[in-house]
């Protein structure tokens, strides 16, 4: 709103007209799950109308780079790229590589090669000869990225956008024109998104499409540009940087895989790049191992690399819960999260909890997850009883943020320290206290062991000073370890460039190095915005190196001069011979714009003076991703796992690389046109509630503001189903059945999709069975199913049905569920029919004629 006050145009693209739409200049309703078609249409518009920022695109992106001759596009293979392995259900990225390079060009993280078993084959050297890549800076070569992109999106015409998304062509063109008019040397545009873009079976490709648009328009690395993730938890960015995630170690170092990382040398070899910041990989990982195992870790024992547990595949949330439901996971610690309400398929979540032997929940008060053994839809239907559930449950009351010191990392990578104001009440404790004292106890329990497997816990560095009457570990001491220090004198390092690969430095998270520079808690800095420049470098501390805009070298032209006075940000100072500006330059500070690496250059020397994208092997922004993506080098429109229509662009209906969980307790609808589930459903959040409700449905103020579960539907759908505003209705999918009030509103726009009228249902997901205000949980309806890149669920686009009246209870509820089950049980013929259509599992399209040849 501040931006709008200063003259910015705000465009809001959302299936629903919301309070945000009311404040925007333009609201654009589209069918949930079709954003790649919409954004792909913008890419085509930019290319066909030559609206791209040519100087930026040629110098700073891989538009000019040639791709190998073997590469085949979705235009050639009707929805698949070359390299598809139909048996394994994944891509080999070999044919996506740059011409002239013999290895895979590594992307930061390299998950596609190393972290996932069978996801690719490890190569002998990573990006060694990336400087030999072939280029055509006229952008005319048919195999240069620019031309491949043009061909890939050629059929994403305004007509096609309208047929797929339901957005009228004129409205679509207005968005495309406005965006282009507001980009270039003098102006920049930004994208802001939330989980409406991520919770899809092709979620990551949504963001990639926005990335392509922003690179084409020159909106990355410049003030007022970028792509902003509006994330939903105070430190969700921090919990990714310092990950409580299975596939990562702190600072985006991959967890080692049993097959590819038998020892430290193999692990480093597999993950370090020949060029860019990832060429320093061994410094980051050895410093981490030193921070964790201290004096026990040295060169003679691989820095205790052996102590790290090894992955053998996907160990993400949904796989873990499935395994729990099958009796393979005994213990579960749930800390500040409420999966029974917040994760997909609530019934399957609870099935897992019922099979676990013990469960620990830490929160302000017992959540639906803590109460699963006595309060659930299964209890209500009489299917399970507390007396039959053997899970032992511990509920620990947690301290609030006002009762402990520590940092949150906000969505802009900014670490902000919050100070403890008072002690927590009663036996409530911080999670830091819990982790520390649990560790102390386990160290004591294992103290006398002589088993080799117990060495990692015995030798773990765990001597944090404690303070206060509850023996709270010092959060500042932990932050100091995260920052890193020189082992000899314990002095904090001032940045990650000081880290060493010889064991002389320790660092808990290399990208956070510098947050405790000079022994000062930089995250606690709070100089008023009124007393400093607009970039506000003296408020908190942003990783890396207190840099507020990543890749900001791109805010200057190839010669190092600002693209325009209006968008001046970081530039090359000819006199001082260094980069300078309003922000910490994201570049090697004394590397002149004219520097070009020779062909044998390695590591940081391989970064040219005109290569702003320092984390990519070639220093360029990737319009085409030769690696790093499990489901294609360029985004492609696939329909959601469950859709109301066929894919109008390709025979391939859904993302071929998506992960399915085909089991009786996680049934899917037919991929399209399932007569039982004719409506599009999308979940959403309200300003007045927080996620699964554990921090909002217990508060009288917020409960009063949003007291009751509801769904939003159009007047036409309400008429068709015989409900009026405020009535009860029941929503159904193959996973479950929930009831809610209907909010009948013209803000829900029925869309014309390829000549059909499509109705959408908006469902907030905050409610659950306990708390001050209660209601059925939307995630009873959603299914397990993963995007292949980040294992995220698809809750923003699925299908459902809606009928008038409350959901049946007790015996009637049990019968209704049984009927649902019967209706969903496919007989052998139906199963064969679906298999023949290629709609049940991942796999290539079958050669059957399509009657939906696109026009444009």
């Amino acid at each position: 709103m501040e931006a709008r006050r200063r003259g910015a145009t705000i465009i809001h693209i959302d299936p629903r007209f919301t309070r945000t739409s009311a404040m925007a200049n333009l609201h654009v309703p589209i069918r949930a799950g079709t954003d790649v078609a919409f954004l792909g249409g913008i890419v085509r518009y930019i290319l066909e109308n030559e609206r791209y920022f040519r100087d930026y695109v040629v110098a700073y992106t891989n538009a000019a780079t040639l791709i190998k001759e073997e590469f085949q596009d979705t235009e050639d293979l009707d929805g698949l790229f070359s390299g598809w392995d139909p048996k394994g259900g994944h891509y080999d990225v070999e044919s996506w590589q740059y011409e002239g390079t013999s290895d895979t060009v590594p992307a930061a993280g390299h998950k596609e090669i190393f972290a996932e078993k069978g996801a690719g084959i490890p190569r002998k050297d990573r990006g060694r000869d990336v400087l030999d890549e072939k280029k055509d800076e006229t952008l005319q070569h048919p195999r240069c990225v620019f031309q491949l992109l043009k061909r890939h999106f050629a059929r994403y015409t305004p007509e096609m956008v309208e047929r797929i998304t339901g957005c009228p062509q004129e409205l679509f063109l207005k968005v495309a024109q406005t965006l282009c008019d507001n980009s270039g040397r003098d102006r920049t545009s930004a994208f802001a998104y939330a989980v409406g873009w991520t919770q899809h079976s092709i979620g990551v490709q949504y963001i990639r499409t926005a990335g392509i648009i922003q690179l084409l328009l020159g909106n990355i690395g410049r003030p007022g540009g970028g792509i902003m993730a509006l994330r939903g938890h105070a430190s969700i960015q921090g919990s990714t940087d310092i990950p409580t995630l299975y596939n990562l170690l702190p600072g985006y170092l991959p967890m080692p895989h049993a097959e590819h990382a038998p020892d430290l040398a193999a692990y480093i070899h597999g993950n370090e790049a020949a060029t860019n910041w990832w060429s320093e990989f061994s410094k980051y990982v050895k410093s981490l191992l030193k921070a964790w195992w201290g004096a026990a870790a040295d060169a003679s024992n691989d820095f205790c690399f052996d102590y790290l547990p090894k992955l053998t595949g996907n160990h993400a949330h949904m796989v873990t819960v499935k395994d729990m439901a099958d009796g393979h996971v005994s213990g579960y610690l749930v800390v500040g999260e409420n999966p029974v309400v917040g994760s997909p398929n609530g019934a399957l979540q609870r099935r897992g909890l019922r099979r676990a032997r013990w469960l620990v929940v830490r929160d302000f008060q017992p959540t639906e997850t803590a109460e699963f053994w006595r309060t659930s839809p299964e209890h209500e239907r009489g299917e399970v009883r507390a007396e039959e559930i053997g899970t032992e449950v511990f509920f620990f009351p947690a301290a609030a943020h006002t009762e402990k010191d520590g940092t949150f990392t906000n969505t802009q990578r900014l670490l902000q320290w919050h100070h403890k104001a008072i002690d927590p009440p009663g036996d409530a404790r911080s999670d830091l206290h819990f982790a520390f004292h649990l560790g102390r106890r386990l160290k004591a329990l294992y103290a006398d062991s002589r088993e080799r497997r117990d060495e990692p816990i015995q030798r773990l560095t765990w001597d944090y000073p404690t303070e206060g009457r509850h023996d709270d570990p010092s959060a500042e001491a932990v932050l100091r370890e995260i920052n890193g220090y020189t082992v000899a004198d314990g002095k904090p390092v001032s940045g990650f460039t000081e880290l060493k690969a010889d064991g002389s430095t320790a660092c808990g998270c290399w990208i956070y190095a510098g947050c405790y520079a000079e022994g000062v808690n930089q995250t606690a800095r709070r100089k008023s915005h009124r007393e400093q420049i607009w970039v506000a470098p003296d408020w908190g501390w942003a990783w890396p190196a207190n840099r507020r805009i990543l890749y900001n070298r791109a805010s200057a032209d190839p010669d190092g001069k600002p693209w325009s006075e209006r968008k001046r940000y970081v530039w090359w100072d000819e006199k001082a011979l260094k980069w300078t500006g309003s922000d910490v330059p994201d570049f090697i500070v004394d590397r002149p714009p004219s520097y070009r690496p020779n062909k044998r250059a390695k590591g940081l020397d391989a970064i040219g003076g005109n290569d702003p994208f320092l984390l990519q092997a070639d220093g360029k922004g990737w319009l085409f991703a030769p690696s790093g993506m499990m489901d294609g080098p360029m985004p492609t429109h696939y329909e959601p796992q469950e859709s109301v229509v066929r894919n109008l662009l390709y025979k391939q209906q859904c993302n071929p690389a998506r992960h399915e969980f085909r089991r009786r307790d996680n049934r899917y609808h037919r991929a399209f046109d399932d007569p039982r589930f004719p409506l599009v459903m999308s979940t959403f959040r309200l300003t007045e509630h927080h996620t699964a409700g554990g921090m909002s449905r217990t508060l009288p103020w917020l409960s009063e503001l949003q007291p009751e579960m509801f769904c939003e539907i159009s007047p036409a759908l309400a008429r068709a189903r015989g409900v009026t505003n405020g009535d009860w209705a029941t929503l159904t999918t193959a996973r479950g059945m929930i009831e809610c009030r209907v909010l009948v509103t013209e803000r829900m726009t029925p869309l014309a999709i390829d000549g059909r009228r499509i109705e959408q249902v908006g469902v907030p997901w905050h409610w659950g069975a306990v708390g001050r205000v209660r209601g059925d949980a939307a995630n009873e309806l959603t299914a397990f199913g993963e995007d292949p890149n980040v294992n995220i669920m698809e809750s923003k686009a699925l299908t459902c049905d809606l009928v008038a009246g409350r959901r049946p209870r007790g015996e009637a509820g049990r019968e209704a569920f049984a009927r649902l089950d019967d209706a969903l049980t496919l007989d052998a013929d139906e199963r064969r029919a679906l298999d023949e259509e290629g709609l049940r599992g991942a796999g290539p399209p079958l050669p059957e004629p399509t009657q939906m040849e696109p026009k444009g």
Binding site: H233, Y332, Q365, T391, F395, L414, Q416, A428, L432, W539
Partner: protein
């Protein structure tokens, strides 16, 4: 004294506070600044921090309700324990509950430990214990949890970033 007259003698809670503590909103990831007012070791008010370059003193409905979040009657102050097959919660002393959880972790870890897979590749892990949650925690908390769990050989560690 009439109510009107008396109101003239009252001081706002923000003025009466013994100290004002700098904080950050615990709800979403925007990171709005908060000021926490403390009087007699009780939080008496929480409001937006006008110095913050992120929020310039603003808070949304959730952020504005933070005072109730941290001081409300919903907050449980004792450890609750539900025995297998029981129909009710019991309370437990904190230290005892911590001991019990440590024992459960050890017992499960030892029973489900994997040294190597069928190909002889090193695993050094347990798939018997899993963790969920992190996006509402501090960085320091996530760090200690990840460090501890990894040393125990746990790999099924996940949080809200996955949903």
């Amino acid at each position: 004294m009439s109510a009107t007259r008396r109101s003239l003698t009252l001081l706002p809670r923000t003025v009466r506070a013994d100290r004002i503590v700098r904080s950050v909103c615990p709800y979403c990831a925007v990171g709005c600044g908060q000021l926490v007012y403390v009087e007699n070791e009780q939080i008496t008010n929480i409001e937006g921090d006008p110095d913050s370059p992120i929020s310039e003193g603003c808070l949304c409905p959730k952020g504005s309700a933070t005072y109730q979040l941290v001081t409300g009657s919903h907050r449980v102050q004792q450890v609750l324990y539900r025995r297998p097959f029981s129909t009710h919660w019991e309370t437990l002393p904190l230290e005892q509950a911590m001991d019990m959880v440590a024992e459960r972790v050890k017992e499960t870890r030892d029973a489900t430990w994997q040294d190597r897979d069928e190909k002889g590749q090193t695993l050094n892990r347990t798939l018997g214990i899993a963790h969920l949650g992190g996006a509402t925690l501090d960085n320091e908390e996530n760090y200690l949890l990840k460090k501890l769990y990894t040393s125990l050989g746990m790999v099924q560690i996940e949080n809200q970033a996955r949903i």
